[in-house]
Symmetry: C2
Subunit: 366 residues, 2 copies
């Protein structure tokens, strides 16, 4: 299966967008920027629209999911929409008993961690993803030449929630299981990989121009455990998407020590956490990989001067990579000021492509 | 101020204990092992003793704090007691409105993050630490030749709780403050450093033979932020303790990328998180530093064979350092099986000092 001629990337609608250019190592017409979690709680129009609607229900309402995806693109003039959904949505669509508890996160009816439970995991019916496809189609039609990024949770992160039955700090449950019963772990991780791959593939086929795999909790793993117990399933998740030929980002929080291993999963772009400077990430990856990141979200609330100085540093270090998609190094905090985000986008767009951001800064300050 | 002749380390009572030998680069009579959070929720005798007593109240009851400290030493035959307390105890003793909410953590009456609040922070009255001193004296008398390790929270971790007013995942509040208002941040961090230093110093002077500074949330910082905004205050915390001449451990979770910077704070031993193999930590530190760690707590629940294999690997990698204090790479999980911990201590003690743990393993399995 490859993309059909009507797909925005194939028809050329988004092929030369700054985001796609940077992700494929070409020179973009402006510095592309978007923000993880740009669609969501930081926006008053989001809070208004979501009022009274459960999280998963809002993800499965194509018109609402589409509108929420579009809100930050309109407001901030970012260079991509990120599809509004949640990594556990495909688990719910597969029939698992999962809800998203406000202020807590995904909560399952019961933890899923025994060999019997793993063997009995349901198959995801392809038609169950139709509300997702429909939301993507609606969104892409509105976005025009601005690319939509599809996304999915990486198998480790999905399995971590399933094994614990809820969010946890140290992810001891899944990390125990992989050592205690590697076979059950592999079964669970493969199941999650197939769900994740199908979810992401559906978004791309419906019109998203790029994809991102989020391994939110991957940073809890040692490199040895990552390589042995996690990388195979993340590779499996990306395999069916990879053959579609769109740029694929791989990102996790606190994963500085895992960058080179994560980069072997089939992605074409690496997302970098705010802790690791981009030039250092470039060195760890051995060069040649477009990078996405990594403004520290804490700086959004630290005043414009500090944010501007930090952003210039991020842009300058990002120049080491063959392509740089500007983003945060973690999601937008719920209490972020949307006006700061808009101003930040404007500033990033104002730094000419190819210019040294540091000299640009000196010019402006002179 | 230096240790007086009656101190266990000076009188020789603990000077040749395996823990102190390993921490000072001498050959221990057996492989020393203790566990972070060994005194606490994993033990039924702890849960029984604590029933009905608030956390901070139990820390301030010298007989109870002492008994809780001794419980795991008796049960597991570990090579050190770790003083039972909480990093926020000295904040409460200084007069801050802080409680420890079960299942949540430290909660403050109000967040402390304005210049006015920081300027008005109270001084810690030296006499307020008397219940701590008394608990240490009672404990040391019982421990005899087994050393007691004193501890304190690092200034960043203390300040993180104060700024947020409660536990948080990403520590955005303190990380914002250091950029938004470096002066207020420095005032807060210095205040926390002085409290932390006084708390640890009181424990050492009362008879603890070593100390550990816990920077639980240090792993949320980039190396640049750590060096600029955090290392100076951690150094300030350890300075008054350093002159007492006891071994000092510095530990934080997820701090693999900060090891070399953290090691400049005045400590003499580095604690290593479970994510970084000890031989890799040794290389990052440039050699010459005794290490503590770093069995993955997840392995405690993964079955004996997996735990044993992992432990042998940790012992083998630890041989690269000039001294190795065996520990977990994070705290004992509350649901850990105490019998597994006892068996683990017995196993670690059974591996002869100087022997290659991997060949020892082959022998045992032959």
């Amino acid at each position: 299966m490859t993309l059909r001629g009507s797909h925005p990337l194939v028809s050329g609608t988004t092929a030369n967008a700054p985001l796609i250019a940077a992700m494929t190592g070409r020179t973009p017409s402006r510095r592309p920027v978007w923000f993880m979690r740009q669609a969501g709680r930081s926006l008053p129009e989001y809070r208004e629209l979501r009022a009274g609607t459960d999280m998963i229900a809002s993800c499965l309402d194509p018109a609402m999911a589409s509108e929420i995806t579009l809100q930050p693109v309109r407001r901030h003039d970012v260079d991509a929409g990120i599809f509004f959904s949640d990594i556990v949505v495909p688990l719910q669509l597969a029939g698992l008993d999962v809800t998203i508890k406000p202020g807590v996160g995904p909560v399952f009816g019961e933890p899923i961690n025994t060999p019997e439970q793993v063997a009995a995991l349901p198959r995801l019916d392809a038609a169950a993803l139709n509300p997702i496809r429909e939301a993507v189609r609606l969104t892409v039609a509105e976005l025009g030449s601005t690319p939509l990024i599809g996304f999915a949770g990486a198998p480790f992160t999905l399995a971590a929630y399933m094994v614990e039955g809820k969010p946890s700090r140290d992810h001891l449950g899944p990390r125990r299981l992989m050592h205690a019963d590697p076979e059950t772990w592999a079964g669970l991780a493969d199941w999650a990989a197939d769900i994740s791959g199908a979810f992401l593939k559906a978004q791309i086929e419906a019109g998203a121009s790029a994809g991102q795999l989020f391994d939110s909790w991957g940073g809890s793993l040692s490199p040895a455990d990552y390589r042995r117990y996690v990388l195979p399933s993340s590779t499996r998740a990306l395999a069916p998407v990879k053959e579609l030929g769109v740029p694929l980002v791989h990102f996790g929080v606190g994963t500085g020590e895992l960058l080179a291993d994560m980069n072997r999963a089939g992605n074409t772009v690496m997302g970098v956490d705010y802790r690791v400077p981009l030039d250092e990430a470039e060195a760890r990856l051995g060069g040649g990989v477009p990078l996405q990141g990594n403004i520290d979200p804490a700086l959004l609330g630290a005043g414009w001067d500090a944010l501007r100085e930090h952003t210039i540093d991020v842009l300058a270090r990002g120049a080491a990579a063959p392509g740089h998609v500007v983003n945060l190094g973690h999601g937008v905090p719920p209490d972020a000021d949307p006006e700061v985000l808009t101003r930040l986008v404007e500033f990033i767009h104002s730094v000419p492509v190819g210019a040294d951001p540091r000299s640009f800064s000196a010019l402006k300050e002179a």
